[in-house]
Each structure stands twice: as structure tokens, then as C-alpha cells.
């Protein structure tokens, strides 16, 4: 019974198993972006990148972004690799430090600074287990407080006993931090005031202030100091953000800032997680302090917003509405269009500011931003000009420049030609945002009518290695299957373009043999030919359907390519199709898609030659076949690759027939006209009536006049004009035919 599928909720083919699961792209997964902020930042701000997630990326401390590592490295005159310094201060145990006299960093420390420095390291590591807040239930507070208190006393004593300022402050910091974890406000303030107030040259000075700020009662003062620390204390940024109160008056915090540099820091804090427009604040920060450390981050963040707001809807069609069935598209579309144009004007203002005013900004950030904004404001020439004069330093950005130039040039061309671009680097290497670039470039061709280029480019989406599951949204209000997004270009083109458009494109693709661009799609040639034939069948062009399918080798229909072996094994012409989901005697015969089409064509021709009951019987078989090629039949794979009973309103050319059996009804009624046998005439009306019931159910959507009918079933039954005709014109058989489907066989056999 494996080929009877009407009770299946959703059937997926083997090729798209990953796209059909319960997963639905949402939030960050649907955000379109070409520019990754991590290319400009050493990770210190990664938690705050523009993202739909609460935290974009977790901050990872490294030898490159840790100021404390730098302090130790400078202490030993950079005698060893910075990575080794990082490893020594954060990863070695106290025992490994004691035993590590031959370890290069320990050795350098001993040679250059002496044993007291090793003693300090051993002390810090011995008590480091007290610096945590993993005591969730706060059970051991008193015991740990007591241990911390002892450790703090020793640390203070060591600080007092040394004249070395480095060691003095290091020990003092340890003491301060022990007291911080014991929530000992008075001691934290006392130690801070004694050892750290006004000092900022070393990482620990700033860390000390970070801890001190937790006990600052004056929220204006606290905001002011947090803002000053934020740009320079990478590892504490999340903690500092949590200390910052964006609800309190910004002007009063600004009043505390003594210099323009400090004022810029305050402005910067207020927009740290702002998801709206912040260009005015950026202008202010730049005006106050063009070298503000966070400015580059903010500029990229603003570019990322505009990518999301303008390029996202325009390229991926992900628009900000989870559409309900009854949603009013017109209102929404109008607002969306207005919104995109407003955002484009904003992007233009941003672009002008970057081009004319912000000339002293980081050059790479400025050029990359101008390039993206030029794409957004539809001035690709400007972006090309800017990129061509920029020499990016990193490998990632050099590659990005090349890809971005390709995209801008395609946008700049009225009729882009694939041959004009070097797509090797575009397609060959793996890089961040590769799917977004491929799709954006593909859209340039698709929207210019070059479908073959788009098909070839999209075939590289979500290719192995590009595992980030790129998707795009449907854009015509109805869906291909039960999903309103696309993951695979095969489904996309199947749903959105006509058979002849795909067939013509395919001919061009075959001219691109042996190229990197076409190799993936050409490997899938038989599937595409299958699709073209299927599309012709949906468009009622049986002849062309057969012509295309005849090119396909017979083995294909029995291969793993699709599930025909499982779901196309019944006999669609067999008369006793009213047997629900059980196998019939007719099913000893089964056909391939091509064979069904050929048999259908042959029967149609035959019906034209015949008359009377013989003609009626052939037409009846044709009607059966058309019925079985709808979602209610046993050969639905003639027209679909998968289907869902939950979502019927698709965008395919035969949507109406697939759901309401128009063709089957037409042929049942033609069979009635031809038949001489009264019993057979009644049977054809009975079957036309079945198609009519399906139509009524589909179109009524369970709405009916409750004053007129007792139930929905009554409504469907009594409004069926063919059932009414049976009752009126064939009164002797009406009861049996309308109530006992097992009787059909006898009526069918009334014509020998």
C-alpha cells in the first residue's frame, strides 16, 4: 500500500530532505548581509554586532585583544611570543609556574624581573578559584568569604611590603577583586582609592575601576565612568553594558564629561544596542572625536542595518510580516515600498556624510561602507570607484573587495553578461557570506531576464561547505508547497517560471559545458528535464511534455533521483478508483511518467475516432487519469514532487485543476454525452459529482448558509448539481449509486 499517499501529511523527496523538516528560517537566519563586522574588529566588540540574537557572538579573549597580555609582554620587553605570554598567565597552574624555570616566558620573567614576579604569579594562581560566582545557591558564602578575606589580607600585606609599583598594584588588585566577590563594598572602595584612583596605564587599573563602579551609587557618575572605560576594557564590555543605564538623562551624563573625547564616549554608549537609526549620533561622535575607538564599529553596524532594511527585502524578499491567510497584502506592500524608499534616502544621507565629511575615518571601514551604501542607493559606479582605490590589508577583505566589485559591476550594467566577470574566486573559495553574494549576483541576472545565468549561480547556493542554510522568501503571495520560503533553486524555478522559460534557459546552460559555473546544475540535468516536462503537463501541453520526457533515459524513472518507485506505481486509468487507499486489481499494471503521458495522449486520440459507448469508455478512462493526477488521486507525482494537505493554494499553473478536478469532470461529462447506456451515464454523473464535491469543499472553505443546511456535509451534498441531476433523471439507480460505491463496478460493466 506504499503508493497510496492521500493520508500522508507531507512527503519529501530524497533530494530535499533537509529543507522539509520542522525548521523554519527566522530572525537572524533571514537577515541579509554582505559585510561582516568581524573583518574590521579583533573580536572585542563581537557581542554587540548588529544581530537579531541577544548577543551576536561570544567574546573570546585572545593574545591579540587582551590588554593584560600586552602589559606582561611589555614587562619582559617582548622577549617571547605574545601567545606564550597569554598561555602562561591564563593557562598554567601554580605548580607549572613553580616548576617552569625552563619555560621561555617564566625564564624571561626571572631573568628580567626576578623571583618576586614569579612569586606573584604563583600567589595569583593559588587563589584564582575564589574569583568566581559559580556558587549558584550561595551556600558557601561564609566559608568562601572567609577564605577570600585571608587571601585579601595576604595580598594587601604583599602590596605594602614591596616598593615595585607594578607588583604593588597587582597585589592590590587581587585584594580588591577578592573583596568584590565577597560583596565587601567598603573594602573595594578603600583599596581602589588607595591604589588605583586616577590611574589607567595598565589593564588591572581599568579592571579595578570596573569592580569599583559596581558600588557607585550616583548613576550619572557611574554612566559617565562606564562610558570612559568601555572603549578600552574589552573583556569587561558585557559587564560594563549591564552597569550602564540608558534610561537616565544623557545631558546630565554629558555634563560630567570634561573633554570632547569623553563626551564622544558618552554618546557612543547610548547607541550601543540601538536597532534604529543613529546617523545623527555618529555625526556628533565624529565631530567631537574623529578618532573615537568605537566609531568604525558603529559605522559598520549602521551599514548592517541598512542591508537588513533595504537589501533584505529587495534581494531575498524577506519582508517583515509573518503572513496570516487573511492578511491584507495591499496595505502592507504599500507601506513596505514607502519604507524601503525612506531607508534608501537615509542611506544616501549616510553615504554623503561618509564621502564628504568623515574623511579621517579608518579608510578600510569607510571604503567598504561606501561600497555597500552605493549598492543600496543604486549608485554602483560610486562604489566601484571607491573600492578600486582601496587596498585592503587582510585576505578576507581582499577577497570581499573582488566579490563586491563583481556585484557592483553587474548592478552597473544594463544587461550583465556572465562572460564579463571572473567568477572563479566568487564560486571556488569558501568565504563568509558566500551564499548572500551568490544570490545577490544571481538576482542581478534573474531580474534582467537571464534565467540561465541565475539557475547556474543559484545551483551553488548551500553547496557543501556553505552550511549556513541560505533561504529566500516567496514574493508573490502564494507558496510553492506548504512552505513560504525557498532553500533550493530547483523548487524556486519550478514554481516561479513557465515551462518554456525554463526549457529555453536550459538550452543556454548546455552551452556552458565544462565550466565551474554550470557543473553542479548539469549534474542534475535529468531532474531538470523531468521538471520541464512536468511543467508542460501542468500547462496542459501533453505533446511537449512527452517530447521532453522522451529525452530522459528509462532508468531515470526507476532511479533514486525521485520517489517514483514508491509513489507512482498505480494504474491511473483503471476504473475502480473509488476504492479509497487500497490496492486494486488494476494496479498490477504501472507506468512511468512518460508512459502515463503517452497512454493518455493515445487514449485522447482514440476517443476522437470512436463513437457511442466505446467512446464513452475511453473518455471515462481519460477522466480517471486526470482525476488521479490531482491531489486526490494515485498518480499525483505526475504534477508534483511533494504536496501537503495543509496548504493547497499554490502558485503552479494547474493549481485549480489540482485542487478541484476540472479536467476529470470535463471528461466524465464528455463520457456521459457519448454513452448510450443509461447505467453508464448515471455512473459518469456520479463521478462528475464527486469532482464537484471536491470543488465545493475547496471553494467554500467550510463556509455555508447555516439557516439553509443542517451541516456542512448536507451543504456539500445538496448543492452538488450532478447529484441532483442523478436524482432527477435516474431515479431508479440514484439511491444505490449515491450510497454504495461498491456498486460502481456493475454500472461500469454495463458497457462491455
Amino acid at each position: 500500500m506504499k503508493y497510496w499517499i492521500a493520508f500522508l501529511i507531507f512527503l519529501s523527496s530524497s533530494t530535499l530532505a533537509t529543507a522539509c523538516g520542522p525548521w523554519y528560517p527566522y530572525g537572524e537566519e533571514t537577515r541579509f548581509s554582505l559585510l561582516y563586522p568581524g573583518w574590521f574588529d579583533n573580536g572585542g566588540l563581537s557581542e554587540f554586532y548588529y544581530s537579531a540574537d541577544v548577543t551576536a557572538e561570544y567574546y573570546e579573549i585572545s593574545s591579540e585583544n587582551d590588554k593584560n597580555t600586552l602589559d606582561w609582554w611589555n614587562l619582559i620587553d617582548q622577549a617571547v611570543d605574545k601567545e606564550l605570554v597569554f598561555h602562561t598567565i591564563y593557562s598554567l597552574s601554580s605548580k607549572e609556574v613553580i616548576d617552569g624555570e625552563n619555560q621561555p616566558m617564566i625564564k624571561a620573567l626571572l631573568d628580567k624581573k626576578g623571583k618576586p614576579y614569579i612569586d606573584y604569579l604563583v600567589f595569583a594562581k593559588s587563589y584564582s578559584h575564589l574569583n568566581n560566582s559559580g556558587n549558584y545557591w550561595e551556600r558557601n558564602d561564609k566559608q568562601e568569604d572567609s577564605l577570600r578575606n585571608v587571601a585579601a589580607q595576604i595580598a594587601v600585606k604583599n602590596a605594602n611590603n614591596t616598593t615595585d609599583e607594578w607588583l604593588k598594584r597587582r597585589y592590590a588588585f587581587l585584594a580588591l577583586r577578592f573583596h568584590f566577590y565577597s560583596n565587601n563594598k567598603a573594602k573595594v572602595i578603600e583599596l581602589y582609592d588607595r591604589y588605583f584612583d586616577g590611574k589607567s596605564e595598565w589593564a588591572i587599573d581599568r579592571w579595578a575601576e570596573y569592580h569599583r563602579l559596581h558600588f557607585k551609587e550616583d548613576s550619572y557618575q557611574r554612566n559617565y565612568r562606564v562610558a570612559q572605560l568601555f572603549s578600552s576594557v574589552h573583556s569587561k564590555r558585557n559587564g560594563l553594558w549591564n552597569l550602564y543605564n540608558t534610561k537616565i538623562n544623557q545631558e546630565r551624563v554629558l555634563d560630567l564629561a570634561a573633554t570632547n573625547h569623553e563626551k564622544a564616549n558618552v554618546h557612543a554608549m547610548y547607541i550601543l544596542r540601538e536597532t534604529g537609526k543613529t546617523l545623527n549620533e555618529l555625526k556628533t561622535i565624529y565631530q567631537l572625536d574623529p578618532s573615537n575607538e568605537l566609531l568604525s564599529f558603529y559605522v559598520i553596524r549602521e551599514v548592517n542595518k541598512l542591508e537588513n532594511w533595504v537589501l533584505g527585502p529587495e534581494i531575498t524578499a524577506y519582508q517583515p510580516v509573518i503572513r496570516d491567510y487573511d492578511y491584507d497584502y495591499n496595505i502592507n506592500d504599500k507601506i513596505m515600498k514607502e519604507r524601503i524608499e525612506e531607508d534608501r534616502l537615509y542611506a544616501k544621507e549616510f553615504l554623503d556624510w561618509l564621502s564628504v565629511t568623515a574623511i579621517n575615518m579608518n579608510s578600510e571601514v569607510r571604503s567598504a561602507s561606501i561600497a555597500i551604501l552605493s549598492l543600496i542607493v543604486k549608485d554602483p559606479k560610486n562604489g566601484i570607484k571607491q573600492l578600486e582605490k582601496e587596498t585592503f590589508s587582510s585576505v578576507e577583505l581582499k577577497n570581499w573587495k573582488s566579490n563586491m566589485l563583481t556585484l557592483l559591476k553587474a548592478r552597473d550594467s544594463k544587461s550583465p553578461k556572465l562572460e564579463s566577470y571572473d567568477l572563479e574566486s566568487f564560486l571556488k573559495t569558501d568565504y563568509r557570506n558566500k551564499n548572500a553574494f551568490i544570490f545577490a549576483l544571481g538576482r542581478e541576472f534573474e531580474f534582467n531576464g537571464d534565467l540561465s545565468a541565475a539557475i547556474m549561480l543559484y545551483s551553488h547556493l548551500n553547496d557543501k561547505g556553505n552550511y549556513d542554510s541560505f533561504t529566500w522568501h516567496e514574493s508573490n503571495g502564494r507558496t510553492a508547497y506548504n512552505l513560504d520560503f525557498y532553500y533550493d533553486s530547483f523548487d524556486y524555478f519550478d514554481a516561479n517560471y513557465s515551462a518554456s522559460e525554463i526549457e529555453n534557459s536550459w538550452k543556454k546552460i548546455e552551452n556552458h559545458k565544462d565550466s565551474l559555473l554550470s557543473e553542479l546544475v548539469l549534474k542534475d540535468k535529468l531532474n531538470w528535464l523531468d521538471m520541464i516536462g512536468t511543467k508542460y503537463l501542468r500547462e496542459e501541453n501533453l505533446e511537449k511534455s512527452i517530447a521532453v520526457w522522451e529525452i530522459i533515459p528509462n532508468e531515470y524513472w526507476f532511479s533514486e533521483a525521485r520517489n517514483y518507485d514508491d509513489y507512482l506505481q498505480a494504474n491511473p486509468f483503471y476504473a475502480n478508483f473509488y476504492s479509497g487507499h487500497e490496492e486494486t486489481v488494476g494496479d498490477t499494471v504501472s507506468f512511468t511518467k512518460l508512459e502515463i503521458a503517452q497512454e493518455l495522449q493515445s487514449r485522447i486520440k482514440q476517443s476522437k475516432r470512436l463513437k457511442g459507448d466505446a467512446k464513452a469508455k475511453v473518455l471515462f478512462g481519460i477522466a480517471n487519469c486526470y482525476f488521479n493526477m490531482t491531489q486526490h488521486g494515485n498518480s499525483w507525482m505526475m504534477k508534483r514532487y511533494y504536496w501537503s494537505i495543509n496548504f493547497e493554494n499554490t502558485i503552479y499553473a494547474d493549481d485549480l485543476d489540482y485542487n478541484t478536478c476540472i479536467n476529470a469532470k470535463k471528461y466524465y461529462l464528455l463520457a456521459k454525452e457519448a454513452a448510450k447506456s443509461k447505467d453508464f451515464q448515471a455512473l459518469t454523473l456520479r463521478m462528475a459529482g464527486r469532482c464537484e464535491s471536491i470543488r465545493i469543499k475547496f471553494e467554500s472553505n467550510r463556509n455555508f448558509d447555516r439557516d439553509k443546511y443542517d451541516s456542512y456535509a448536507d451543504f456539500v451534498y445538496y448543492s452538488n448539481k450532478y447529484y441532483n441531476q442523478i436524482k432527477a433523471n435516474y431515479p431508479d439507480v440514484q439511491e444505490e449509486l449515491l450510497t454504495n460505491c461498491l456498486s460502481f463496478e456493475r454500472y461500469y460493466q454495463s458497457i462491455k
Binding site: W137, N245, T246, P320, I331, E342
Partner: protein
């Protein structure tokens, strides 16, 4: 004049109910906030202005961590100011995530009960009150958990353990579904329950209904007279929710709908749904033009109607009537007299 008439009618209603029953009503509020930006003082002034006597204070939530097991999160930072709260009775509340119950063994449940009681006591001693506070005692612990039939046994066991270890009155929150279908869902071994008259519907499945409270839905759950085996307290919603229907949204659900939101939205044909007409930042929330937002807030009329229905449904000599929750931004949406009436209807 209309307003005066309305309050006259309300007062008449209250007097009418007062005249035929003698229920002792204790007024209360939930304080469910965590985090450091809670403006405690304003909220506590409001608490005092309503002559409220019980503060149901969420002390922490319990979640499950793969490596650490059951751990407390979202710990309270609420500090009771003597000036406003000297007469308040604190009911420490603990929210327990459903998953916690499913993951813990009997021994671990015992340990969890120990930890819950320990941390409540610790916060009562050290965190919640000002140093000069005279009364630091509490009599009742309230547990809040959406238990299911699958983990009912664990939950009821936890309740027993908390009671045994704390030697306090133990209550639990109860949604209307387990309240009505008590046979199937079981009766938790508590001293009293707090019936939550809100969150009746799933907001994602009923996009055209107010999922906080719809009178017709409420009626379905109290269409019988059999008293609950233990005394019942009731809680009514004075909060709002905004649901953002936007693929690229940065805030899915938000509470305390900003007052100014109406200024930048247009209502749509769909009940409770609005479309943002202008890019705007309100508070910490950024709204993008074209976004569809469903705004839910229970109206004064619905609140009064719900209170009347529950007052008729529950026949007790004493009851705690509680509003969820103590947030001046939300409470300012309601007239003081209307909220007074919600309490007094039960008298």
C-alpha cells in the same frame, strides 16, 4: 459627569455585594521584576496607595543547566523601603521551569527543596529588607510552575518537601485549566492556591483574540460550583503585551507596551493588530515602519467583569486578591478607583 456616574454605579455594585457577604479581602500585588533597573520607590508608593498588605515577591527562578543541574537565575534585586512597606507581608515566590521537574531524580528534588528554602531565607535575611527593617518574617512560600500530567508527581513531591523543610504555609499558582480539570490534573498538596485569571489562550494560535483575558474564555473555566479542596486566592492581570509579527524582528514579545506606541501605529482590520507607520524608538524598543504589532491589554471593564465573575464563583470567608504586577508603567493605564473596585468586589 459620565465618569462620576460610572463610579457611582461601581460603588453601588460594591455596596450591593458587601451587603450580602462578609469576605475578608486582603489586597496584594505581584512583584515579578528582576534586573537592576527596577524603579522600586515609585512602585512601592503605589503599593502603599492601594492599602495593599501582601507583596508576592519573585525571589528567583529555577532553571536546568546540563552541567550544574537545577540552578537559580533572575534573582531579585527588590529592596523594600521601610517608608512604604513597613506593614507589608512578604510572600516569597519561586518560579520553577517545567523542564527542571522532568530532569531531577528523587534525591535531586530533595536537594532542590533544600536549596529553595535556603536561598529564600538568605534573601529575606540579607537582601530584601533595609537593615533597619523591624519585621523580616514571612509565613508563606508560593511556588509557580506550569506542571503537566507527566511531571505532576515530581512537582507535588517538591511541594511537600518545601513545606516540610520550611515549616511555612505553602501555596502554588494555578492556571484555570488545572483548576477546572482537577480530576485529571490532580490537586497539589498545598495549603492554598492562587488562581491566575490570565494567559488563557496561546498568543501564537489566537492572533485575533486577547490572550491575556477574554471574558467568554474565562466563563468556560468557572462554569461549576464545586469548591476547590483548599482555599483559593485570585490574581488579575494589569499588564500588557506586544507581539511583533516581523521576520526580522529584534524583540519578539515585549511587556509594558509604551504609551506612545499608539501615536505611531494605525489599527488594522484585524482585532488588536496595528501597523507601525514611522520608524521610532520608544524606550529601549525600536519599531520599524510596516511592522505588524498585536497589542494586548485588559480593559477596565473586562477587569471589573472578571472580578465579578470570580467573586460570584468563589464563596470563602477570606481571600487574597492580587494584581499582576506592581509596575507603575502598567498600573497608570488604570484608574485608581477601578482597581480599588477589583479588590472590593470580593468583600
Amino acid at each position: 459627569m459620565k465618569t462620576l456616574l460610572k463610579y457611582f454605579l461601581l460603588l453601588s455594585l460594591v455596596l450591593l455585594i458587601t451587603s450580602c457577604s462578609k469576605t475578608k479581602v486582603t489586597r496584594g500585588f505581584y512583584a515579578w521584576q528582576s534586573g537592576s533597573n527596577v524603579v522600586d520607590t515609585i512602585n512601592q508608593k503605589i503599593f502603599q496607595s492601594f492599602n495593599a498588605e501582601r507583596l508576592y515577591l519573585k525571589m528567583f527562578e529555577v532553571t536546568y543547566d546540563e552541567t550544574e543541574g537545577a540552578i537559580p537565575i533572575s534573582k531579585t534585586n527588590f529592596k523594600l523601603r521601610n517608608q512604604f512597606m513597613s506593614n507589608a507581608e512578604i510572600v516569597p515566590c519561586v518560579f520553577i521551569e517545567n523542564e527542571v521537574l522532568s530532569k531531577l531524580s528523587a534525591i535531586q528534588l530533595n536537594e532542590l527543596a533544600d536549596n529553595i528554602v535556603f536561598l529564600i531565607d538568605k534573601y529575606i535575611d540579607e537582601r530584601v529588607f533595609e537593615p533597619s527593617a523591624k519585621n523580616r518574617d514571612y509565613k508563606e512560600i508560593q511556588l509557580d510552575c506550569d506542571w503537566s500530567k507527566g511531571n505532576q508527581e515530581s512537582y507535588f513531591q517538591l511541594i511537600k518537601l518545601v513545606k516540610e523543610k520550611s515549616q511555612k504555609t505553602v501555596s502554588c499558582t494555578m492556571r484555570l485549566y488545572p483548576y477546572k480539570y482537577r480530576e485529571q490534573m490532580g490537586t497539589p498538596p498545598v495549603d492554598r492556591i492562587m488562581l491566575l485569571c490570565y494567559n488563557l489562550l496561546n498568543p501564537s494560535k489566537n492572533t485575533d483574540k486577547n490572550s491575556i483575558l477574554e471574558i467568554e474564555e474565562l466563563k468556560k473555566y468557572i462554569d461549576f460550583d464545586t469548591p476547590y479542596p483548599v482555599p483559593v486566592d485570585v490574581a488579575f492581570p494589569t499588564y500588557s503585551s506586544g507581539y511583533r509579527f516581523d521576520q526580522q524582528r529584534f524583540e519578539g514579545v515585549f511587556h509594558a507596551v509604551p504609551e506612545d506606541l499608539e501615536r505611531i501605529t494605525l489599527s488594522t482590520e484585524k482585532h488588536l493588530h496595528y501597523v507601525v507607520t514611522k520608524d521610532t524608538t520608544l524606550g529601549n524598543l525600536f519599531f520599524k515602519k510596516g511592522e505588524n504589532i498585536k497589542i494586548e491589554r485588559v480593559s477596565e471593564a473586562v477587569l471589573i467583569e472578571a472580578a465579578k465573575l470570580l467573586a460570584n464563583h468563589i464563596d470563602q470567608s477570606e481571600i487574597n486578591v492580587v494584581l499582576y504586577h506592581l509596575d507603575h508603567e502598567e498600573l497608570k493605564q488604570y484608574n485608581h478607583e477601578v482597581l480599588d473596585s477589583v479588590f472590593d468586589i470580593f468583600k
